[in-house]
Symmetry: C2
């Protein structure tokens, strides 16, 4: 029986909140088709993936093959430019709110590193330490700056090309892009900002003007030390779909400012251990795997917390098979298992009831341990000197 | 007879608009007592002026003797500190919206120079080139930056001590005070900003967060290159009363940020040539005297445009006398004539009908020509090198 007020809850996808909807009190997960349609993005069709493979002479990343990066805006424009050897650059970022990343935070950087390898272009990576200070009551400026440096180390460990990658803290780099920030601040009116970002009267004035700081790096003239007075071309921005409001506004105003419209390529969220309806949340340790977790902790967390798509009894499971679309171990394998053939075989075995949840979790644990282990090995090699090299912009 | 809708218009005093009220369609000028009361400032009593003279061993400036700088907040605190040889500093500023200043713009700087001489303290002077770009549709960043440098030359020509005066463009200096700007941006909520500054939904997001940029220099830690890690003490801020909202907010939040509450000393507006109900407006050339006007132009403008408090006919004037409280020539003399005895004698002669409007204007022209002439002479000696010296902050 329907409970009063429980009939239907809409999903919420903003830069500050991501929660799936519910119907009749039952969580319905995140409807990515709906997000894409309401944000005005387009699905990435197989032809476009084939074109990328042709142009880059390499297989597209699993995140693309498996629809994790699933929609885009004007990706064709970037491919056209690449074909004509015209410049463009990659832009992504991270809000540094803790000392260590969790697994979900690596997704855009792993993908961005693939794009850099495939297209051989410059990457700029923004650390929004200013915003974290502004929006989080308990984060001091000192915390935010420390998190930024620690997060930079994690990002570097994803394998970016030191010659073509610039990582910047907003607090450090602000003045270099200040003129573009002002240009954006002048173009965006309060009513537009409220409509797109849902600001309320209780938000601080820093939060209200911050969108300009995340928008300015969409434009190559914000990076004079990289591009000089040359036109660096448009940005291609890989991001999780909750960040879309910033880049929607960037596209709206680019022409008025005499800048290139940026292109987008957007991902779904890696689900938290508890289920597909929410993303990994650093504020709930049982929902996520940290990049600092030991091999044992990874095994324990997946075994104990990963929501299973298996059936209640062994007999039932053998008879009906598991449900991969809600099974977190399977979801993680679809992120991190390189072999399409093995993934497909796992899916077939699990849905047929041949493979049990415990077996699936075991395979997932191996893959996550491998990815995190590799990451940790590279991370150990990142020194303060390396960070300085990636973050340098002053002559 | 009263016209419908014309009964009573309230005066408007904000950083972006200054107009006196009207009653029954008749302009009533600006009611400074009312502004002071509604902003919560206190009148400066004679005892305080005497105390300043005692402490500084010099006669107070005519602007103080004649009530042009007429109200304050916590001026006693500054005098207490001066007595105890504890540090404080002066902070004032200018919005650079044109290449040349008009006479009214000199008032806060002439007064600030007197305070520097009297107290021997550091002065910081903000050029809000960022704000002018943000709020003026037709001003480009290049314009605003050029105006800032030109205005700096005018300010230097007011005679500041090069050893103890720092003039800064927001665009140039922003990053040095960015952490304090962020602290202020985090503390001021949108609803407070709307209440104090009257922002509307049509204002750009840059304008909404700008108050933080004018507030940050109230705190000495925004000037590390002057004060190092020492506490520079509170700011004493001389300003025209329309700028009060910024410093009211600064005082509200100072304690929460662990900073000294700034003190205020506020002036009335030098009236425009057309009459006491409005201030000199650079956008109406017949309302103001520019610092670049020739001696002939000064004479012509005052003769032609200065609103007179004289009577309609000679006979009537001799019989009833002139009205100094609305006479612009007299008002200007009260700003710029050094001798109290002569000013008092002029008032007596004019109000008794002995002195005619033409004679009063002639004396006014002499004084304004003297002040502007002196200014122009000093201005000619200010080079690009001098500007660099006053605006230097990088090692």
């Amino acid at each position: 029986m329907k409970q009063h007020g429980e009939e239907k809850k809409e999903q919420v996808i903003t830069p500050w909140e991501v929660t799936g909807g519910s119907e009749d009190g039952v969580k319905t997960g995140i409807d990515y088709k709906k997000v894409m349609d309401s944000f005005g993005c387009k699905e990435i069709p197989p032809e476009l993936l084939e074109r990328i493979e042709r142009q880059t002479n390499m297989k597209v990343h699993p995140f693309l093959r498996r629809g994790i990066f699933y929609c885009h805006r004007d990706l064709e424009n970037i491919l056209d430019r690449h074909e004509k050897k015209l410049p463009f650059f990659l832009y992504t970022g991270r809000g540094p709110s803790s000392d260590a990343l969790q697994l979900g935070h690596l997704v855009p950087f792993m993908f961005c590193k693939y794009l850099q390898d495939a297209f051989g272009c410059h990457v700029v990576i923004q650390l929004t330490d200013d915003e974290k200070f502004l929006v989080k009551k308990d984060i001091t400026l000192e915390d935010a700056k420390r998190y930024a440096v620690e997060n930079a180390k994690d990002i570097i460990a994803c394998g970016f090309d030191p010659q073509k990658t610039f990582i910047f803290s907003d607090i450090e780099y602000y003045s270099e892009m200040f003129e573009n920030i002002l240009r954006v601040q002048k173009t965006v009116l309060l009513n537009q900002a409220r409509a797109v970002f849902g600001f309320t009267s209780e938000d601080c004035i820093g939060k209200i003007s911050f969108p300009a700081t995340q928008i300015a790096p969409c434009f190559s003239s914000s990076f004079k030390h990289i591009f000089g007075d040359e036109d660096g071309g448009p940005a291609l921005i890989p991001y999780a779909i909750d960040q879309d409001p910033y880049f929607r506004v960037a596209r709206d105003i680019a022409h008025r400012l005499g800048f290139h419209k940026p292109s987008s390529i957007c991902s779904q969220f890696i689900p938290g251990l508890h289920g597909i309806e929410s993303k990994m949340s650093a504020s709930d340790p049982t929902s996520c795997i940290y990049t600092t977790d030991s091999q044992g902790e990874i095994a324990r967390k997946i075994t104990k917390y990963a929501f299973s798509g298996g059936r209640d009894t062994l007999a039932e499971h053998r008879r009906l098979g598991g449900n991969t679309s809600v099974d977190i171990a399977y979801q993680y394998l679809s992120y991190f298992l390189e072999s399409d053939a093995e993934l497909s075989s796992i899916q077939q075995q699990y849905t047929s009831g041949e493979m049990l949840s415990g077996e699936l979790k075991k395979r997932c644990i191996q893959e996550v341990q491998r990815v995190v282990g590799l990451f940790q090995e590279r991370r150990r090699g990142v020194t303060g000197e390396t960070v300085k090299q990636f973050m340098a912009f002053k002559k």
